[in-house]
Protein backbone atom coordinates (compact mmCIF):
# COMPACT_ATOMS: atom_id res chain seq x y z
CA UNK A 1 0.00 0.00 0.00
CA UNK A 2 2.83 2.38 0.99
CA UNK A 3 4.64 1.45 -2.24
CA UNK A 4 1.59 2.34 -4.36
CA UNK A 5 1.18 5.58 -2.43
CA UNK A 6 4.84 6.47 -3.06
CA UNK A 7 4.57 5.63 -6.78
CA UNK A 8 1.55 7.94 -7.02
CA UNK A 9 3.34 10.72 -5.14
CA UNK A 10 6.45 10.23 -7.29
CA UNK A 11 4.37 10.51 -10.49
CA UNK A 12 2.71 13.69 -9.22
CA UNK A 13 6.15 15.05 -8.36
CA UNK A 14 7.33 14.42 -11.93
CA UNK A 15 4.38 16.41 -13.33
CA UNK A 16 5.61 19.39 -11.29
CA UNK A 17 9.26 18.83 -12.26
CA UNK A 18 8.62 18.76 -16.00
CA UNK A 19 7.07 22.19 -16.40
CA UNK A 20 8.47 25.19 -18.22
CA UNK A 21 11.15 26.94 -16.15
CA UNK A 22 10.18 30.44 -15.01
CA UNK A 23 13.45 31.90 -16.35
CA UNK A 24 15.52 29.96 -18.90
CA UNK A 25 18.63 31.92 -17.96
CA UNK A 26 18.42 30.69 -14.35
CA UNK A 27 17.68 27.15 -15.52
CA UNK A 28 20.77 27.05 -17.76
CA UNK A 29 22.98 28.50 -15.06
CA UNK A 30 21.76 25.82 -12.63
CA UNK A 31 22.18 23.15 -15.31
CA UNK A 32 25.85 24.09 -15.77
CA UNK A 33 26.35 23.85 -11.97
CA UNK A 34 24.68 20.46 -11.87
CA UNK A 35 26.72 19.16 -14.84
CA UNK A 36 29.73 19.94 -12.71
CA UNK A 37 28.29 18.54 -9.43
CA UNK A 38 26.75 15.40 -10.86
CA UNK A 39 28.88 14.74 -13.94
CA UNK A 40 32.38 16.13 -13.93
CA UNK A 41 32.94 15.42 -10.24
CA UNK A 42 32.14 11.73 -10.94
CA UNK A 43 34.88 11.34 -13.57
CA UNK A 44 37.68 10.30 -11.13
CA UNK A 45 35.70 7.53 -9.39
CA UNK A 46 34.30 6.25 -12.70
CA UNK A 47 37.77 6.31 -14.29
CA UNK A 48 39.45 4.51 -11.40
CA UNK A 49 36.82 1.78 -11.09
CA UNK A 50 36.57 1.20 -14.83
CA UNK A 51 40.33 0.82 -15.31
CA UNK A 52 40.74 -1.68 -12.50
CA UNK A 53 37.61 -3.72 -13.21
CA UNK A 54 38.47 -3.85 -16.94
CA UNK A 55 41.90 -5.14 -15.94
CA UNK A 56 40.40 -7.79 -13.67
CA UNK A 57 37.89 -8.94 -16.32
CA UNK A 58 40.74 -9.45 -18.82
CA UNK A 59 42.94 -11.27 -16.29
CA UNK A 60 40.14 -13.57 -15.08
CA UNK A 61 39.18 -14.42 -18.67
CA UNK A 62 42.80 -15.12 -19.62
CA UNK A 63 43.37 -17.28 -16.53
CA UNK A 64 40.30 -19.41 -17.32
CA UNK A 65 41.19 -20.07 -20.97
CA UNK A 66 42.77 -23.47 -20.69
CA UNK A 67 40.97 -24.88 -23.78
CA UNK A 68 43.46 -24.80 -26.70
CA UNK A 69 40.55 -24.71 -29.19
CA UNK A 70 39.51 -21.22 -28.05
CA UNK A 71 41.16 -18.49 -30.13
CA UNK A 72 43.50 -16.19 -28.18
CA UNK A 73 41.55 -13.08 -29.13
CA UNK A 74 38.63 -14.35 -26.95
CA UNK A 75 40.07 -12.37 -24.01
CA UNK A 76 39.63 -9.10 -25.90
CA UNK A 77 36.19 -10.11 -27.14
CA UNK A 78 34.91 -11.00 -23.67
CA UNK A 79 36.35 -7.82 -22.15
CA UNK A 80 34.67 -5.75 -24.88
CA UNK A 81 31.25 -7.42 -24.71
CA UNK A 82 30.99 -7.61 -20.90
CA UNK A 83 32.11 -3.98 -20.60
CA UNK A 84 29.70 -2.63 -23.20
CA UNK A 85 26.71 -4.78 -22.33
CA UNK A 86 26.76 -4.81 -18.56
CA UNK A 87 29.73 -3.52 -16.64
CA UNK A 88 29.82 0.09 -17.80
CA UNK A 89 26.10 0.89 -18.10
CA UNK A 90 24.81 -1.11 -15.12
CA UNK A 91 27.59 -1.52 -12.56
CA UNK A 92 28.86 2.03 -13.00
CA UNK A 93 25.25 3.30 -12.73
CA UNK A 94 24.89 1.39 -9.46
CA UNK A 95 28.05 3.08 -8.21
CA UNK A 96 26.69 6.44 -9.33
CA UNK A 97 23.43 5.67 -7.50
CA UNK A 98 25.54 5.65 -4.34
CA UNK A 99 27.58 8.73 -5.09
CA UNK A 100 25.08 10.98 -6.89
CA UNK A 101 21.91 9.60 -5.27
CA UNK A 102 23.03 10.21 -1.70
CA UNK A 103 24.33 13.66 -2.63
CA UNK A 104 21.05 14.71 -4.28
CA UNK A 105 18.85 13.32 -1.49
CA UNK A 106 20.86 14.91 1.29
CA UNK A 107 21.15 18.28 -0.49
CA UNK A 108 17.42 18.56 -1.16
CA UNK A 109 16.57 17.00 2.22
CA UNK A 110 18.66 19.59 4.05
CA UNK A 111 16.96 22.35 2.09
CA UNK A 112 13.61 20.90 3.20
CA UNK A 113 14.40 20.70 6.93
CA UNK A 114 16.00 24.17 6.97
CA UNK A 115 12.83 25.66 5.36
CA UNK A 116 14.72 26.73 2.21
CA UNK A 117 12.14 24.88 0.07
CA UNK A 118 9.32 26.63 1.97
CA UNK A 119 11.08 29.94 1.26
CA UNK A 120 11.09 29.14 -2.48
CA UNK A 121 7.41 28.15 -2.42
CA UNK A 122 6.38 31.32 -0.57
CA UNK A 123 8.25 33.41 -3.13
CA UNK A 124 6.03 31.77 -5.76
CA UNK A 125 8.80 29.57 -7.21
CA UNK A 126 7.91 26.04 -8.35
CA UNK A 127 10.55 24.47 -6.09
CA UNK A 128 10.44 21.04 -7.77
CA UNK A 129 11.03 22.54 -11.19
CA UNK A 130 13.70 24.89 -9.89
CA UNK A 131 15.64 22.30 -7.88
CA UNK A 132 15.05 18.95 -9.56
CA UNK A 133 14.79 19.63 -13.31
CA UNK A 134 18.40 20.85 -13.74
CA UNK A 135 19.65 17.79 -11.83
CA UNK A 136 17.60 15.36 -13.93
CA UNK A 137 18.69 17.02 -17.17
CA UNK A 138 22.34 17.03 -16.07
CA UNK A 139 22.15 13.29 -15.35
CA UNK A 140 20.44 12.52 -18.66
CA UNK A 141 23.01 14.57 -20.57
CA UNK A 142 26.18 13.60 -18.72
CA UNK A 143 25.70 9.96 -17.70
CA UNK A 144 26.13 8.71 -21.33
CA UNK A 145 29.43 10.63 -21.51
CA UNK A 146 30.55 9.00 -18.23
CA UNK A 147 29.61 5.57 -19.53
CA UNK A 148 31.47 6.00 -22.84
CA UNK A 149 34.47 7.19 -20.81
CA UNK A 150 34.09 4.10 -18.58
CA UNK A 151 33.92 1.75 -21.59
CA UNK A 152 37.12 3.20 -23.06
CA UNK A 153 39.02 3.04 -19.76
CA UNK A 154 37.79 -0.45 -18.97
CA UNK A 155 39.15 -1.77 -22.29
CA UNK A 156 42.36 0.18 -21.74
CA UNK A 157 42.62 -1.33 -18.25
CA UNK A 158 42.18 -4.80 -19.78
CA UNK A 159 45.01 -4.13 -22.22
CA UNK A 160 47.33 -2.76 -19.52
CA UNK A 161 46.79 -5.75 -17.22
CA UNK A 162 47.44 -8.22 -20.07
CA UNK A 163 50.59 -6.37 -21.08
CA UNK A 164 51.90 -6.24 -17.51
CA UNK A 165 51.19 -9.97 -17.07
CA UNK A 166 52.48 -10.75 -20.56
CA UNK A 167 49.41 -12.89 -21.34
CA UNK A 168 48.77 -11.76 -24.92
CA UNK A 169 49.92 -9.31 -27.58
CA UNK A 170 48.40 -5.91 -28.36
CA UNK A 171 47.39 -7.10 -31.86
CA UNK A 172 45.54 -10.15 -30.49
CA UNK A 173 43.77 -8.09 -27.82
CA UNK A 174 42.69 -5.41 -30.33
CA UNK A 175 41.54 -8.13 -32.73
CA UNK A 176 39.37 -9.48 -29.90
CA UNK A 177 37.96 -6.04 -29.11
CA UNK A 178 36.90 -5.65 -32.76
CA UNK A 179 35.65 -9.22 -33.22
CA UNK A 180 31.86 -9.59 -33.61
CA UNK A 181 31.39 -5.97 -32.59
CA UNK A 182 27.72 -5.02 -32.81
CA UNK A 183 27.19 -1.22 -32.90
CA UNK A 184 23.65 -1.71 -31.60
CA UNK A 185 25.13 -2.77 -28.27
CA UNK A 186 26.37 0.80 -27.82
CA UNK A 187 22.86 2.13 -28.51
CA UNK A 188 21.49 -0.42 -26.02
CA UNK A 189 24.04 0.57 -23.36
CA UNK A 190 23.47 4.30 -23.76
CA UNK A 191 19.67 3.90 -23.76
CA UNK A 192 19.97 2.03 -20.46
CA UNK A 193 22.27 4.74 -19.12
CA UNK A 194 19.81 7.54 -19.88
CA UNK A 195 17.03 5.63 -18.11
CA UNK A 196 19.26 4.84 -15.14
CA UNK A 197 20.39 8.47 -14.86
CA UNK A 198 16.80 9.65 -14.81
CA UNK A 199 15.83 7.05 -12.19
CA UNK A 200 18.78 7.79 -9.88
CA UNK A 201 18.24 11.55 -9.77
CA UNK A 202 14.44 11.60 -9.75
CA UNK A 203 14.10 8.91 -7.06
CA UNK A 204 16.78 10.53 -4.89
CA UNK A 205 15.12 13.93 -5.30
CA UNK A 206 11.80 12.37 -4.29
CA UNK A 207 13.25 11.04 -1.02
CA UNK A 208 15.00 14.33 -0.30
CA UNK A 209 12.04 16.55 -1.16
CA UNK A 210 9.49 14.76 1.01
CA UNK A 211 11.72 14.24 4.05
CA UNK A 212 10.19 15.21 7.41
CA UNK A 213 11.97 15.92 10.65
CA UNK A 214 15.64 16.71 11.18
CA UNK A 215 19.14 15.59 10.33
CA UNK A 216 18.54 11.94 11.26
CA UNK A 217 15.70 11.78 8.77
CA UNK A 218 17.87 13.41 6.10
CA UNK A 219 20.42 10.61 6.63
CA UNK A 220 17.68 7.98 6.44
CA UNK A 221 16.22 9.48 3.28
CA UNK A 222 19.68 9.44 1.74
CA UNK A 223 20.00 5.71 2.46
CA UNK A 224 16.49 5.02 1.18
CA UNK A 225 17.30 6.96 -1.99
CA UNK A 226 20.37 4.82 -2.72
CA UNK A 227 18.57 1.53 -1.97
CA UNK A 228 15.46 2.41 -3.98
CA UNK A 229 17.33 3.78 -6.99
CA UNK A 230 19.59 0.67 -7.02
CA UNK A 231 16.52 -1.60 -7.02
CA UNK A 232 14.91 0.53 -9.74
CA UNK A 233 18.09 0.20 -11.85
CA UNK A 234 18.08 -3.59 -11.54
CA UNK A 235 14.39 -3.83 -12.49
CA UNK A 236 14.79 -1.37 -15.39
CA UNK A 237 17.90 -3.26 -16.56
CA UNK A 238 15.90 -6.49 -16.78
CA UNK A 239 12.97 -4.86 -18.62
CA UNK A 240 15.19 -2.93 -21.06
CA UNK A 241 17.26 -6.01 -21.86
CA UNK A 242 14.08 -7.93 -22.64
CA UNK A 243 12.78 -5.07 -24.80
CA UNK A 244 15.95 -4.09 -26.64
CA UNK A 245 17.98 -7.28 -27.01
CA UNK A 246 15.44 -10.06 -27.07
CA UNK A 247 12.43 -8.63 -28.92
Amino acid sequence: MKLLQNIGKYTLMLTMVFTKPKKWKIFFSRLINELDNIGISSLPIVGLMSTFIGGVIALQTASNMSNPLLPKYTVGYITQSSTILEFSPTIISLILAGKVGSNVASEIGTMRVTEQIDALEIMGVNSLNHLVLPKVMAAILFFPILIVFSMALSMLGGWMSLMISDLTTTETYVLGLRAFFNPFHITYALTKTVVFGFLIVSISSFYGYYVKGGSINVGLSSTQAVVSSSIAILIANFILTQLLLLS
Partner: protein, 255 residues
Protein backbone atom coordinates in the same frame (compact mmCIF):
# COMPACT_ATOMS: atom_id res chain seq x y z
CA UNK B 1 -5.19 43.94 4.77
CA UNK B 2 -5.43 40.19 5.30
CA UNK B 3 -8.70 38.69 6.45
CA UNK B 4 -9.00 35.25 7.94
CA UNK B 5 -12.57 33.95 7.90
CA UNK B 6 -13.74 30.89 9.79
CA UNK B 7 -10.57 28.95 9.21
CA UNK B 8 -10.52 25.34 10.36
CA UNK B 9 -7.57 23.02 10.02
CA UNK B 10 -6.93 19.49 11.20
CA UNK B 11 -4.11 16.96 10.85
CA UNK B 12 -4.89 13.22 10.77
CA UNK B 13 -8.33 13.84 12.22
CA UNK B 14 -7.08 16.05 15.05
CA UNK B 15 -8.41 19.58 14.79
CA UNK B 16 -5.77 22.26 15.33
CA UNK B 17 -7.61 25.46 14.35
CA UNK B 18 -11.25 26.17 15.20
CA UNK B 19 -13.21 28.86 13.32
CA UNK B 20 -10.52 31.52 13.38
CA UNK B 21 -11.74 34.97 12.33
CA UNK B 22 -9.40 37.94 12.33
CA UNK B 23 -8.34 40.99 10.36
CA UNK B 24 -4.64 41.78 9.99
CA UNK B 25 -4.45 45.49 9.34
CA UNK B 26 -2.45 47.34 6.72
CA UNK B 27 0.41 49.54 7.89
CA UNK B 28 0.42 47.87 11.31
CA UNK B 29 2.49 45.21 13.01
CA UNK B 30 0.00 42.40 13.66
CA UNK B 31 1.10 39.83 16.21
CA UNK B 32 -0.03 36.25 16.62
CA UNK B 33 0.83 35.11 20.13
CA UNK B 34 0.11 32.03 22.20
CA UNK B 35 1.74 29.12 23.93
CA UNK B 36 3.62 26.46 21.99
CA UNK B 37 1.41 23.96 20.20
CA UNK B 38 -1.67 26.18 20.18
CA UNK B 39 -1.78 26.65 16.40
CA UNK B 40 0.01 29.97 15.73
CA UNK B 41 2.45 28.63 13.17
CA UNK B 42 -0.25 26.47 11.56
CA UNK B 43 -2.40 29.56 11.10
CA UNK B 44 0.52 31.49 9.56
CA UNK B 45 1.37 28.57 7.26
CA UNK B 46 -2.29 28.38 6.19
CA UNK B 47 -2.18 32.11 5.44
CA UNK B 48 0.82 31.81 3.12
CA UNK B 49 -0.49 28.60 1.54
CA UNK B 50 2.06 26.12 2.91
CA UNK B 51 -0.92 24.27 4.43
CA UNK B 52 -4.35 24.01 2.83
CA UNK B 53 -7.25 25.01 5.09
CA UNK B 54 -10.05 22.48 5.61
CA UNK B 55 -12.69 25.20 5.71
CA UNK B 56 -12.72 28.98 5.62
CA UNK B 57 -11.16 31.73 3.58
CA UNK B 58 -7.95 33.75 3.54
CA UNK B 59 -8.41 37.08 1.77
CA UNK B 60 -5.50 39.26 0.65
CA UNK B 61 -7.07 42.69 0.09
CA UNK B 62 -10.31 40.97 -0.85
CA UNK B 63 -8.67 38.34 -3.09
CA UNK B 64 -9.64 34.88 -1.94
CA UNK B 65 -6.33 33.01 -1.70
CA UNK B 66 -7.92 29.71 -0.66
CA UNK B 67 -9.90 29.31 -3.88
CA UNK B 68 -7.05 30.19 -6.22
CA UNK B 69 -5.23 27.93 -8.68
CA UNK B 70 -1.48 27.46 -8.31
CA UNK B 71 -0.70 30.09 -10.98
CA UNK B 72 -2.90 32.76 -9.34
CA UNK B 73 -1.39 31.96 -5.96
CA UNK B 74 2.08 32.49 -7.42
CA UNK B 75 1.08 36.04 -8.27
CA UNK B 76 -0.05 36.74 -4.69
CA UNK B 77 3.07 35.06 -3.34
CA UNK B 78 5.21 37.50 -5.28
CA UNK B 79 3.62 40.15 -3.04
CA UNK B 80 4.57 38.26 0.14
CA UNK B 81 7.87 38.48 1.97
CA UNK B 82 8.64 36.02 4.71
CA UNK B 83 11.22 35.82 7.45
CA UNK B 84 11.50 32.26 8.70
CA UNK B 85 12.30 31.17 12.23
CA UNK B 86 15.47 29.48 10.96
CA UNK B 87 15.94 32.34 8.44
CA UNK B 88 16.11 29.83 5.50
CA UNK B 89 18.77 31.71 3.58
CA UNK B 90 20.16 29.75 0.61
CA UNK B 91 23.49 28.65 2.04
CA UNK B 92 25.18 28.15 -1.35
CA UNK B 93 24.54 31.80 -2.28
CA UNK B 94 26.19 34.96 -0.96
CA UNK B 95 24.23 37.60 0.95
CA UNK B 96 23.91 39.62 -2.25
CA UNK B 97 22.76 36.62 -4.31
CA UNK B 98 20.21 35.71 -1.64
CA UNK B 99 18.63 39.16 -1.77
CA UNK B 100 18.90 39.25 -5.55
CA UNK B 101 17.26 35.84 -5.98
CA UNK B 102 13.59 36.97 -6.03
CA UNK B 103 14.55 39.90 -8.27
CA UNK B 104 16.21 37.63 -10.87
CA UNK B 105 13.31 35.23 -10.68
CA UNK B 106 10.39 37.63 -10.97
CA UNK B 107 11.54 40.92 -12.45
CA UNK B 108 13.15 42.07 -15.66
CA UNK B 109 15.54 44.43 -13.86
CA UNK B 110 19.00 44.95 -15.29
CA UNK B 111 22.01 43.80 -13.31
CA UNK B 112 22.68 47.44 -12.31
CA UNK B 113 19.11 48.00 -11.12
CA UNK B 114 19.21 44.80 -9.08
CA UNK B 115 22.52 45.81 -7.55
CA UNK B 116 21.01 49.15 -6.51
CA UNK B 117 18.04 47.41 -4.93
CA UNK B 118 20.28 44.97 -3.06
CA UNK B 119 22.42 47.83 -1.74
CA UNK B 120 19.27 49.71 -0.68
CA UNK B 121 17.88 46.68 1.18
CA UNK B 122 21.21 45.98 2.89
CA UNK B 123 21.50 49.62 3.83
CA UNK B 124 17.97 49.52 5.24
CA UNK B 125 18.90 46.70 7.60
CA UNK B 126 22.25 48.32 8.48
CA UNK B 127 24.39 45.76 6.69
CA UNK B 128 25.98 47.97 4.05
CA UNK B 129 29.00 46.36 2.38
CA UNK B 130 28.30 42.80 3.55
CA UNK B 131 27.32 41.75 0.01
CA UNK B 132 29.93 39.07 -0.56
CA UNK B 133 29.63 37.17 2.73
CA UNK B 134 28.04 33.72 2.87
CA UNK B 135 25.22 33.12 5.41
CA UNK B 136 27.48 30.76 7.39
CA UNK B 137 29.91 33.65 7.91
CA UNK B 138 27.22 35.85 9.53
CA UNK B 139 26.00 35.95 13.13
CA UNK B 140 22.42 35.01 14.09
CA UNK B 141 21.32 38.65 14.27
CA UNK B 142 22.93 39.43 10.91
CA UNK B 143 21.23 36.44 9.33
CA UNK B 144 17.85 37.69 10.60
CA UNK B 145 18.54 41.09 9.09
CA UNK B 146 19.61 39.50 5.79
CA UNK B 147 16.35 37.52 5.93
CA UNK B 148 14.44 40.78 6.35
CA UNK B 149 16.41 42.35 3.48
CA UNK B 150 15.50 39.42 1.22
CA UNK B 151 11.87 39.59 2.35
CA UNK B 152 11.57 43.28 1.46
CA UNK B 153 13.60 43.12 -1.79
CA UNK B 154 10.47 42.71 -3.91
CA UNK B 155 8.76 45.57 -2.10
CA UNK B 156 6.08 43.24 -0.69
CA UNK B 157 2.60 44.22 0.38
CA UNK B 158 2.56 41.55 3.07
CA UNK B 159 5.38 40.58 5.43
CA UNK B 160 5.32 37.45 7.58
CA UNK B 161 7.87 36.94 10.36
CA UNK B 162 7.99 33.63 12.19
CA UNK B 163 9.64 34.05 15.60
CA UNK B 164 11.98 36.82 14.42
CA UNK B 165 13.71 37.05 17.80
CA UNK B 166 14.26 33.39 18.54
CA UNK B 167 17.86 32.70 19.50
CA UNK B 168 18.79 36.36 19.72
CA UNK B 169 20.01 38.34 22.69
CA UNK B 170 17.64 41.03 24.11
CA UNK B 171 19.54 43.92 22.54
CA UNK B 172 19.55 42.41 19.05
CA UNK B 173 15.88 41.48 19.52
CA UNK B 174 15.07 45.14 20.10
CA UNK B 175 16.95 46.06 16.92
CA UNK B 176 14.99 43.46 14.91
CA UNK B 177 11.66 44.58 16.45
CA UNK B 178 12.47 48.18 15.65
CA UNK B 179 13.38 47.28 12.12
CA UNK B 180 10.14 45.38 11.56
CA UNK B 181 8.13 48.27 12.97
CA UNK B 182 9.97 50.86 10.87
CA UNK B 183 9.77 49.04 7.54
CA UNK B 184 6.09 48.26 8.12
CA UNK B 185 5.36 51.95 8.44
CA UNK B 186 7.81 52.94 5.67
CA UNK B 187 6.45 50.53 3.04
CA UNK B 188 2.86 50.57 4.38
CA UNK B 189 2.82 46.78 4.56
CA UNK B 190 0.54 44.36 6.35
CA UNK B 191 2.99 42.69 8.71
CA UNK B 192 2.19 39.51 10.61
CA UNK B 193 4.61 38.44 13.33
CA UNK B 194 4.39 35.16 15.22
CA UNK B 195 6.12 35.58 18.52
CA UNK B 196 6.66 34.28 22.02
CA UNK B 197 8.70 37.29 22.96
CA UNK B 198 6.83 39.40 25.49
CA UNK B 199 9.15 42.30 24.90
CA UNK B 200 7.98 42.32 21.26
CA UNK B 201 4.36 42.29 22.40
CA UNK B 202 4.91 45.41 24.46
CA UNK B 203 7.22 47.11 21.94
CA UNK B 204 5.51 46.55 18.59
CA UNK B 205 2.11 44.93 19.21
CA UNK B 206 -0.27 47.19 17.32
CA UNK B 207 -2.86 44.49 16.66
CA UNK B 208 -2.54 41.31 18.70
CA UNK B 209 -4.28 37.99 18.18
CA UNK B 210 -3.99 35.55 21.07
CA UNK B 211 -4.58 31.93 20.12
CA UNK B 212 -5.36 29.38 22.78
CA UNK B 213 -6.33 25.74 22.19
CA UNK B 214 -6.61 26.46 18.46
CA UNK B 215 -9.20 29.22 18.98
CA UNK B 216 -9.13 32.98 18.79
CA UNK B 217 -9.11 33.71 22.51
CA UNK B 218 -8.49 37.41 22.59
CA UNK B 219 -7.50 40.31 20.35
CA UNK B 220 -6.50 43.90 20.98
CA UNK B 221 -3.47 46.16 21.06
CA UNK B 222 -0.47 46.46 23.38
CA UNK B 223 -2.29 48.87 25.65
CA UNK B 224 -5.32 46.69 26.16
CA UNK B 225 -3.20 43.59 26.84
CA UNK B 226 -1.90 45.29 29.96
CA UNK B 227 -5.34 46.03 31.31
CA UNK B 228 -7.11 42.82 30.29
CA UNK B 229 -8.36 40.44 32.93
CA UNK B 230 -8.47 37.46 30.63
CA UNK B 231 -6.88 34.72 32.79
CA UNK B 232 -5.27 32.80 29.89
CA UNK B 233 -3.58 35.95 28.62
CA UNK B 234 -2.43 36.89 32.07
CA UNK B 235 -0.95 33.45 32.65
CA UNK B 236 0.79 33.57 29.26
CA UNK B 237 1.99 37.14 28.88
CA UNK B 238 2.66 37.85 32.52
CA UNK B 239 3.89 34.41 33.52
CA UNK B 240 7.11 35.50 35.23
CA UNK B 241 7.34 37.53 38.43
CA UNK B 242 9.28 40.14 36.48
CA UNK B 243 6.49 40.59 33.93
CA UNK B 244 3.88 40.71 36.69
CA UNK B 245 5.80 43.51 38.31
CA UNK B 246 6.04 45.39 35.02
CA UNK B 247 2.30 45.04 34.56
CA UNK B 248 1.53 46.43 37.97
CA UNK B 249 3.91 49.36 37.41
CA UNK B 250 2.30 50.11 34.04
CA UNK B 251 -1.20 49.88 35.51
CA UNK B 252 -0.12 52.16 38.30
CA UNK B 253 1.19 54.68 35.79
CA UNK B 254 -2.12 54.67 33.93
CA UNK B 255 -4.02 55.49 37.12
Amino acid sequence: MIEVKQVNKSFNGQQVLFDINHQFEKGKVNLIIGQSGQGKSVLAKCMVGLYEVDEGQILFDGRNFTDMERFERSQIREEIGMLFQGVALFDSLTVEENIMFPLTMFTNMTKGEMQKRVDFCLDRVNLTGRNKLYPAECSGGMQKRIGIARAISMNPKYLFCDEPNSGLDPKTSIVIDGLIKDITAEFDMTTVVITHDMNSVIEIGQNILFIHQGKKWWSGDKNSIITTDNPEILSFVFASEFMKEIRSIMQEKRR
